[in-house]
C-alpha cells in the first residue's frame, strides 16, 4: 500500500519537474514533494503501523524516492540556469566587425628608417656609428679629404659657407677625417657615418639643399677593392633584396683612388631595361673607393702599412628607390599622409 503510494508520488513529482519551465516553478515542486509538510514525510509518519520487517524496506524506498526526485530537480535546475544565462548572453551580442578602439601609434620618418636599417646591418659586421658636426671647418670638409682650396673638384660641391673657413658640411666625410685623426694612426677603423649634409642646390623633384648621407670607412692592413665590392654586395642585398646584383664602374672622387660608382640591378625590370633604369638595367646608388693615400697620411696613418675603403650612400636616393617615392621634397614636407605610410615591418 505504502509502497505503491511512494512510487505514485515519485511518478507524479518527476512529471512536475519535467514540466517546470522556470526556477520558481521548480522550487515549488521541491517544497511540495520534499518539504517537511510534503506527502513523502506524511507517508513516513504512517510507518509506525508497519511491521518490523516492512519498516526498513519502506524506509529505504522512501529515501530512494526522495533521492530520485532531488536528483532530477538538481538536473533540471542546472538546465534552467544554463538556459537563463544563455538567454541573457543572447541579448548581449555585439557586432564584432565594428572597429576596435584606436591605439595611438606613430612611426619613424622613412629616412631614419633607412638609416637605422643600414646602421644595424653594419653594426652586425663590427662597425660603430660615428657622428660629427653639421657645421664644419673647411679643413675637415675639404682639405683633410685631399681637396685643397684650388682643387677643381670643389666645383662639384657648391657649398653654403658661413665664413671663409666655416661651412655647412657638404658630405659626412669630415666625420671620417675626424675619426681617423682620433685613432692616431692605429687601425683597425670600422665606422659608418650617417648625417645631414647641405649643398647649394635649388629644391626640385630630384634635388634638395639638405639631404642625408651614410658613409662607411674601413682601415686596416690589406683592405682591398674586392673587400669594398663584397661589403657593398651585402648592403645591396639587405636593403634592396637578395636577388639584387651590384656592378662597379670607375669614377672619380678626390678622397679615394681608385674610385668607383656602384650600380644595383634594376628591381623593376630585373635588368632587362626599363624607364626607371633608363634602359640600362642598372641604377646608380652610391660611390666609393680605396682611401687616397694623401687622406690616410693627413690623418696620421702610414699608407704603406694601412689601406682602406670608403663609400657614401645617399639616404634619400635609397628611400626613393626602395619605396618608389618620386619627389625628394616629400621627405621634407612632412605631409602626414606621406609619413604614415612607413608604418610596418617589412620582411
Amino acid at each position: 500500500m505504502m509502497q505503491e503510494r511512494l512510487l505514485e508520488l515519485q511518478e507524479e513529482a518527476l512529471q512536475k519537474v519535467a514540466a517546470a519551465s522556470e526556477l520558481k516553478e521548480l522550487n515549488e515542486v521541491r517544497v511540495a514533494y520534499l518539504g517537511k509538510k510534503g506527502p513523502i514525510t506524511e507517508v513516513l509518519r504512517g510507518m509506525g503501523k508497519l511491521s518490523a520487517e516492512e519498516r526498513p524496506k519502506i524506509g529505504a524506498l522512501a529515501n530512494d524516492v526522495r533521492e530520485a526526485i532531488a536528483t532530477k530537480i538538481e538536473e533540471k535546475q542546472k538546465a534552467l540556469e544554463t538556459a537563463a544565462v544563455n538567454a541573457k548572453l543572447a541579448t548581449e551580442t555585439i557586432d564584432v566587425t565594428l572597429p576596435g578602439r584606436p591605439v595611438n601609434k606613430g612611426n619613424l620618418h622613412p629616412l631614419t628608417r633607412v638609416v637605422e636599417e643600414v646602421e644595424d646591418l653594419f653594426i652586425g659586421m663590427g662597425y660603430t656609428v660615428a657622428e660629427g658636426p653639421e657645421v664644419e671647418s673647411d679643413y675637415y670638409n675639404f682639405e683633410a679629404l685631399n681637396l685643397p682650396k684650388s682643387h677643381p673638384a670643389r666645383d662639384m660641391q657648391d657649398s653654403f659657407y658661413i665664413t671663409d673657413e666655416i661651412l655647412m658640411r657638404t658630405h659626412t666625410s669630415p666625420v671620417q677625417a675626424r675619426t681617423m685623426e682620433k685613432h692616431k694612426g692605429q687601425g683597425p677603423v670600422k665606422i659608418i657615418c650617417p648625417g645631414k649634409v647641405y649643398r647649394r642646390d635649388n629644391d626640385d623633384a630630384t634635388h634638395s639643399h639638405q639631404f642625408q648621407q651614410i658613409e662607411g670607412l674601413v682601415i686596416d692592413e690589406n683592405i682591398s677593392m674586392s673587400d669594398l665590392k663584397g661589403t657593398l654586395d651585402v648592403f645591396a642585398k639587405k636593403v634592396f633584396g637578395q636577388d639584387r646584383e651590384i656592378r662597379l664602374r670607375p669614377s672619380f672622387f678626390p678622397f679615394t683612388e681608385p674610385s668607383v660608382e656602384v650600380d644595383i640591378s634594376c628591381k623593376i625590370c630585373g635588368g632587362k631595361g626599363c624607364s626607371v633604369c633608363k634602359q640600362t638595367g642598372w641604377i646608380e646608388v652610391l660611390g666609393g673607393g680605396i682611401v687616397h693615400p694623401n687622406v690616410l697620411e693627413m690623418a696620421g696613418f702610414d699608407s704603406k702599412k694601412y689601406s682602406g675603403f670608403a663609400f657614401g650612400i645617399g639616404v634619400e636616393r635609397i628611400a626613393m628607390l626602395k619605396y618608389g617615392v618620386d619627389d625628394i621634397r616629400h621627405f621634407y614636407t612632412n605631409d602626414v599622409r606621406f609619413l604614415k605610410q612607413f608604418n610596418h615591418h617589412e620582411a
Binding site: N107, D155, E165, I166
Partner: protein, 804 residues
C-alpha cells in the same frame, strides 16, 4: 664633352664597333657616357634642293614662290616665307611626305591660293638648337655651299645622321676634353692605334717675328706663349664639314678663322685665340697681371674691371684679352680682317679660374685651362691652326712664331709592384696583363722583375702616384673581374654609443606614444631662427644664402614643426602628433664652430583620442603633451630628476606653459602656442615641447635594482584639500611626500574641483595616499600617526583645509 662618332674615326679605327657598343665600353672603363644621340632619328625626306626661280607670291607680300630642283624629274613649287631665300641657293627641302622633329609631317598645301610641295628649312626646323645656328642664318633658311649635290640627303650633309656620345667627365679626366684625348682612351680600351692629324707646313720666307714680338712678365702664370702670324686671309664661312662638327660638339659656327680656333680646341683640347693684327694696337704682345681697376671691353661687349689677380694679354699699354677667358672687342676678328695673330699658350689653371669666376665667364677655353692643358700639345695646336687657316681662309703662314718658352715639362715617373696592384684590388693579375694595360694606354713601361716603372705622358696630368696607376690597371682590367670578399682582420665590437642608444629609445617612446617623426630643414629665415629658442643666444647666418627663407641656422626646431602643422592643417589634416630630433646651432664667442646640440621637439594638435562610433573624443591639451614627455623621461630613467615650473615664454600661452627642469636646470619647455601666433600661422590649438637631448642624455641614471615584491598589504587613505586657486598641486604633493615619512609609498591625485560649490578663489584637490611597510602589516595606529603629520604639514605650509 660631345664626341661625334664619325669624327672620332679620323683618329682611331672604330670598325666593328657601333656607337652604342662603344659607349658601353667607354662607360665600363671609367668615363660615363650619359647618352648617345642621333639627331636624324625619326626624321626623313629632307633633300638638297636648288632654287631655280624665286618670285613674289602674287597674293602675299611676305611670301616667296619658288621653283626648286630637288633632283626629281621636274622642279617643284614651294611657297617659302624666309626673308633670305633667293634664286641660285642650295637649300634643305623637306619634301612632301617628309617628317621633321616633333613628328611634324610635310604635306602638299595651298598657301593663299598657290600650291606648295614641301618646305625649305631653317636649321632650327631640322632640330638644331637656336644657340648653335650661325648668326647668318639665325632668322632664315640655311644656305649650303654651292658644291653640294642636288637631291642628296640634307640630314646627312648637315651631320645629323652622325651619332654623338655625351661624355660625363669627372674633374680629373680633363685629358678627355679633346677628340685626341678621347681617341687615346678609346685606343686603350680597344687596343688600337691613335692616328694624329698630319700637319703640312708651308711657310713663307717672311718671319712672324718681323711683325710681332712677345714679352711675358708673369712667367709663373704663363710659361709658354706662341704667336703665329697669318697674312692676307679672307674671312668667310668655314667648310660645311667643319661647321657641322662644331655644332655636333655644341659650338656655334662664326667664320673660318674663329671656327678653326674652336675646331683645334676640340681636336687638341688646346684653346687658341685669334687677334686682328691691324686692330691690335702695337707690334708687341705683353702678358702681365692686370693693374688695379684696369678696364677691358670683352667680345660680349661688356666692360669689365680687372684686378692684379687676373692675367691679361696686352698690346704693351692696354689689355686686349683676359688670358684664357675671353678676348677683347677691339682686336676681334671681323669680316674685313686680313692679318691674324694666333695665340697658343699655356696659362696656369689657378689664374684662369680666378678670372673666370670673378667675371662670371665660363667658356670652353677657360674650362680647359682651369683643369690644365697638355703642355706637349701647345705648339702643335698653333701649327695646325695656322695650316688650316691657310687652307680654308686663304692666308699665308709666316715662318716660325714669336714666342716665350720657359715651360719645364717633366713627365711623371712612378714605380709600382705587381703585388701592390693585386693587394689593393684583391685580384691576381699577371705581369703580362698589367704590362699590356700600361702599353695600351701608351704609357712608357719599364719592367724589372715584378716592378713596373711607368713614364706617364703629360696629357695625363691626373696620374701622379701609385694609386693612380692602380686605378688605370683596375679600370682596364674591368671591375666586373674583381672578386667580392669581406674584410679579414681583427674583430671589432659593433655597437651604438650610449648617446645613440638613448636617442633610439627616445624615438621608440615617442612613436609608441603616437607621434610621427618629421624631418625639417636646418636653414630658416632670420625671424624663425630664434623663435622659441631654448637659449637666448646669437644665431648664425650664411655668407651667401640662396634665399632669405633659408638664410639662417635654426636655434629651435619648433618653428619648423609649426610650418608642418600649418601645411597639414591647410589640407584638412587637423589631428597631428609630430616629433623631430635634430640639431640646433648657437653661435659661440671665441670658437670657430657653433655650439651644435641635438634637441627633441614635438607638436601635437587636434584630437588625441577619437573613438567615433562610441561617441568618444578627447582633444589634445597641455596634459596630453605632458604625458608624452613624462613617458620619455620615464624611459630614460629620469622621472625623479625632472620638475616643472610655470613660465612665461615669448609666443607661448602665458598661462599654459612650463619650463622643464632637470635637477634644477632648465632643459626645455612645454605648453600651448600663443593664440595670436596660432592665428597668424592659421593653425588650430597646438601644444609643443622642445627639450635638449644632449642634457637628457648626460644626466646620471640609477641602475635598475630589484625591490622585493610586498608580502604585507598596504593601506590607502584619501584626503580632499581646499586650497587657494594659485596653489600648485605639485607643491602640495611635495609637502605630503616630505611629511609622510618612510611609510608613505605613493601619492596620487584623483580629483580636482574648481566649480561653483567652492568658495571664491578656492579649489579642491583630492589625494590618495598609500601607506606601506615591507616588514609588517601596519596597524591603524601607525597609519593615523603618519597621516596626522601629513595633514598638519599641508595645513601649515599650504594653508590647506580638509574638505568636509
Amino acid at each position: 664633352m660631345f664626341v661625334s662618332y664619325k669624327w672620332l674615326q679620323d683618329y682611331v679605327d672604330l670598325s666593328g664597333i657601333n656607337a652604342t657598343e662603344l659607349a658601353d665600353k667607354i662607360t665600363k672603363s671609367g668615363i660615363e657616357v650619359e647618352g648617345v644621340e642621333k639627331k636624324s632619328e625619326g626624321l626623313k625626306g629632307v633633300v638638297i634642293g636648288h632654287v631655280i626661280e624665286r618670285e613674289q607670291h602674287p597674293n602675299a607680300d611676305k611670301l616667296n614662290r619658288c621653283q626648286v630642283d630637288i633632283g626629281a624629274e621636274n622642279p617643284v613649287q614651294i611657297i617659302c616665307g624666309a626673308p633670305n631665300v633667293d634664286k641660285g641657293q642650295k637649300v634643305a627641302v623637306a619634301t612632301v611626305g617628309a617628317v621633321l622633329p616633333g613628328n611634324f609631317k610635310i604635306k602638299k598645301a595651298k598657301l593663299r591660293g598657290e600650291e606648295s610641295h614641301g618646305m625649305i628649312c631653317s636649321l632650327q626646323e631640322l632640330g638644331f638648337e637656336s644657340k648653335l645656328v650661325s648668326k647668318d642664318y639665325a632668322t632664315g633658311i640655311f644656305v649650303f655651299p654651292n658644291d653640294v649635290e642636288v637631291g642628296k640627303d640634307a640630314l646627312e650633309e648637315l651631320g645629323l645622321s652622325d651619332e654623338v656620345l655625351e661624355l660625363g667627365l669627372t674633374p680629373n679626366r680633363s685629358d678627355a676634353l679633346s677628340m685626341l684625348g678621347v681617341a687615346y682612351e678609346v685606343g686603350a680600351i680597344l687596343g688600337r692605334e691613335v692616328k694624329w692629324p698630319v700637319i703640312e707646313k708651308e711657310e713663307a720666307t717672311e718671319k712672324a717675328t718681323d711683325y710681332i714680338s712677345v714679352k711675358v712678365e708673369a712667367k709663373e702664370d704663363n710659361p709658354l706663349y706662341i704667336a703665329k702670324f697669318i697674312k692676307d686671309v679672307k674671312i668667310g664661312p668655314s667648310p660645311l664639314w667643319m661647321q657641322t662638327r662644331l655644332m655636333s660638339a655644341g659650338i656655334r659656327p662664326h667664320n673660318n678663322v674663329v671656327d678653326i680656333t674652336n675646331y683645334i680646341l676640340l681636336e687638341y683640347g688646346q684653346p687658341l685665340h685669334a687677334f686682328d693684327y691691324d686692330r691690335f694696337g702695337s707690334k708687341e704682345i705683353v702678358i702681365r697681371r692686370a693693374k688695379d681697376a684696369e678696364k677691358i671691353v670683352t667680345l660680349d661687349e661688356a666692360e669689365r674691371t680687372l684686378s692684379p689677380e687676373h692675367l691679361v694679354i696686352t698690346n704693351g699699354t692696354e689689355p686686349v684679352a683676359i688670358a684664357g677667358v675671353m678676348g677683347g672687342a677691339d682686336s676681334e676678328v671681323k669680316n674685313d680682317t686680313t692679318n691674324i695673330i694666333i695665340e697658343s699658350a699655356y696659362f696656369a689653371g689657378t689664374v684662369v679660374r680666378k678670372a673666370s669666376k670673378d667675371h662670371g665667364l665660363r667658356s670652353e677655353a677657360s674650362a680647359r685651362f682651369e683643369k690644365g692643358v697638355d703642355p706637349a700639345r701647345v705648339r702643335e695646336a698653333g701649327e695646325r691652326a695656322a695650316q688650316l687657316i691657310a687652307q680654308y681662309a686663304g692666308g699665308t703662314v709666316l715662318q716660325g712664331a714669336a714666342e716665350v718658352d720657359e715651360l719645364i715639362m717633366e713627365p711623371a715617373v712612378i714605380s709600382i709592384t705587381l703585388e701592390k696592384i693585386n693587394t689593393l684590388l684583391g685580384t691576381s693579375m699577371t705581369v703580362a696583363e698589367v704590362e699590356s694595360i700600361f702599353k695600351r694606354l701608351q704609357f712608357g713601361v719599364e719592367l724589372d722583375n715584378e716592378t713596373f716603372t711607368i713614364t706617364v705622358p703629360t696629357r695625363r696630368g691626373d696620374i701622379t702616384i701609385e694609386a693612380d696607376l692602380v686605378e688605370e690597371a683596375a679600370r682596364l682590367y674591368g671591375y666586373d673581374n674583381i672578386p667580392a670578399t669581406l674584410p679579414i682582420g681583427s674583430a671589432t665590437p659593433g655597437q651604438l654609443t650610449d648617446y645613440q642608444v638613448k636617442r633610439r629609445k627616445a624615438r621608440r617612446t615617442l612613436e609608441g606614444a603616437g607621434l610621427y617623426q618629421a624631418v625639417t630643414y636646418s636653414l630658416t629665415s632670420e625671424e624663425k631662427a630664434s623663435q622659441f629658442a631654448l637659449e637666448t643666444r646669437e644665431s648664425i647666418r650664411l655668407a651667401m644664402p640662396m634665399s632669405e627663407e633659408r638664410s639662417q641656422l635654426r636655434l629651435s626646431i619648433v618653428p619648423q614643426l609649426l610650418e608642418v602643422v600649418k601645411y597639414n592643417n591647410a589640407r584638412q589634416l587637423d589631428s597631428l602628433a609630430l616629433y623631430e630630433i635634430g640639431s640646433v646651432f648657437f653661435k659661440q664667442d671665441g670658437q670657430e664652430l657653433p655650439d651644435e646640440k641635438e634637441h627633441i621637439a614635438g607638436a601635437i594638435t587636434g584630437l588625441w583620442e577619437a573613438h567615433l562610433w562610441q561617441g568618444e573624443k578627447k582633444p589634445v591639451d597641455f596634459f596630453v603633451a605632458k604625458g608624452v614627455i613624462e613617458a620619455l623621461f620615464d624611459t630614460l630613467g629620469l622621472a625623479d630628476q625632472i620638475s616643472y615650473r610655470q613660465a612665461e615664454i615669448n609666443d607661448m600661452h602665458p598661462g599654459r606653459t612650463a619650463e622643464v627642469l632637470l635637477n634644477g636646470d632648465v632643459i626645455g619647455f612645454i605648453g600651448q602656442v600663443h593664440p595670436t601666433v596660432q592665428k597668424d600661422l592659421d593653425i588650430k590649438e597646438t601644444y609643443i615641447f622642445e627639450l635638449s637631448l644632449k642634457a637628457l642624455s648626460e644626466a646620471e641614471v640609477a641602475p635598475i635594482a630589484y625591490e622585493t615584491i610586498p608580502r604585507y598589504p598596504s593601506t590607502t587613505r584619501d584626503i580632499a584639500l581646499v586650497v587657494d586657486q594659485a596653489t600648485k598641486a605639485g607643491d602640495i604633493q611635495d609637502i605630503i611626500e616630505e611629511a609622510g615619512g618612510k611609510l608613505l609609498k605613493e601619492v596620487s591625485i584623483f580629483d580636482l574641483y574648481e566649480g561653483e560649490r567652492m568658495e571664491e578663489g578656492k579649489k579642491s584637490i583630492a589625494y590618495s595616499l598609500k601607506y606601506f611597510d615591507p616588514a609588517r602589516t601596519l596597524t591603524d595606529e601607525d597609519i593615523t600617526k603618519a597621516h596626522e603629520k601629513v595633514l598638519e604639514a599641508v595645513k601649515e605650509k599650504a594653508g590647506a583645509e580638509l574638505r568636509g
